[in-house]
Symmetry: C2
DNA sequence: CATTTCACTTGCTTTTTACAAGCAAAAAAA
DNA sequence: TTTTTTTGCTTGTAAAAAGCAAGTGAAATG
């Protein structure tokens, strides 16, 4: 079996090898912060991911334990994607990126009232997001 | 002038468009955490970046204000690369990646005694790194 | 002034991404 | 029961990015 060779044992490098691309964290953002659950919802995000890339990343995220995939029992022709603890544990990475962009990109969207809460109380924000998934 | 079209105004997407690749944050890690300053030092890192990619990323990091580049006055045939505040402000992203990898990759290197301090006191670690550059 | 060091650059191949179109399983409609 | 629609992909092809080896040019060094 052909396993991909690892670059180094540096923790930064390790994380980048898994989610160091322009799409994986965006899909996790949709699942974790925007409560998206279905393939078509990810495909509809503003960034416009190509469906082959979406399919590829969902498979990668699932095989690496970031998300779960299961048939929707209410509508059996679709699947429900949900975050695992491993995926949710990337929330600090996502939030620190948000904080950085909030400081350096003045075009950053304020519409999702997320940002306001992130500014005032990032730890509280993280907890409130996590709480959604501990039910 | 040809400016690259932005995907969306989402702060996560914005950060990923700039540093969402497998190398940019690794170079910043070298500069910020490992006190590397020269081209040949980055090229020598364990991950083995190709020199054309290194050159490309250093130019990108400089043009986007993450790092500064200046001639070394002691050895004028080389350049010194140093982080800007904008680059240093990615430290929380880097540290949260380290924490995540520490939890999910048991091969993560412990050699740089960094990890121990990150585990015990991540905020203090961040401050101590920042202190190096405020001189 | 020839040699070495440092920081790239170039050429070529391989891999990844992007875009458009097509396809199959499941459910709904006729 | 056959047709149509929805959902979640897969395929084909082109463009872009990454990887690899070799080469180049400016600045110091002998």
């Amino acid at each position: 079996m052909m396993t991909k060779k690892i670059r180094s044992n540096c923790p930064v490098s390790y994380a980048l090898e898994l989610i160091g691309d322009k799409w994986s964290l965006l899909i996790l953002r949709d699942i974790i912060l925007r409560d998206k659950r279905f393939y078509h919802e990810f495909a509809a995000s503003a960034e416009g991911i190509a469906t082959n890339i979406l399919s590829n990343r969902l498979a990668m995220l699932e095989s690496n334990g970031f998300i779960n995939k299961q048939r929707d029992t209410e509508d059996r022709k679709r699947y429900i994607y949900s975050p695992t603890e491993k995926g949710l544990d990337l929330l600090p990475v996502i939030i620190s990126m948000m904080q950085w962009s909030d400081k350096y990109n003045n075009e950053t969207d304020i519409r999702p009232p997320l940002m306001e809460k992130v500014r005032k109380d990032p730890k509280g924000y993280e907890k409130s997001i996590r709480a959604k998934f501990s039910a």
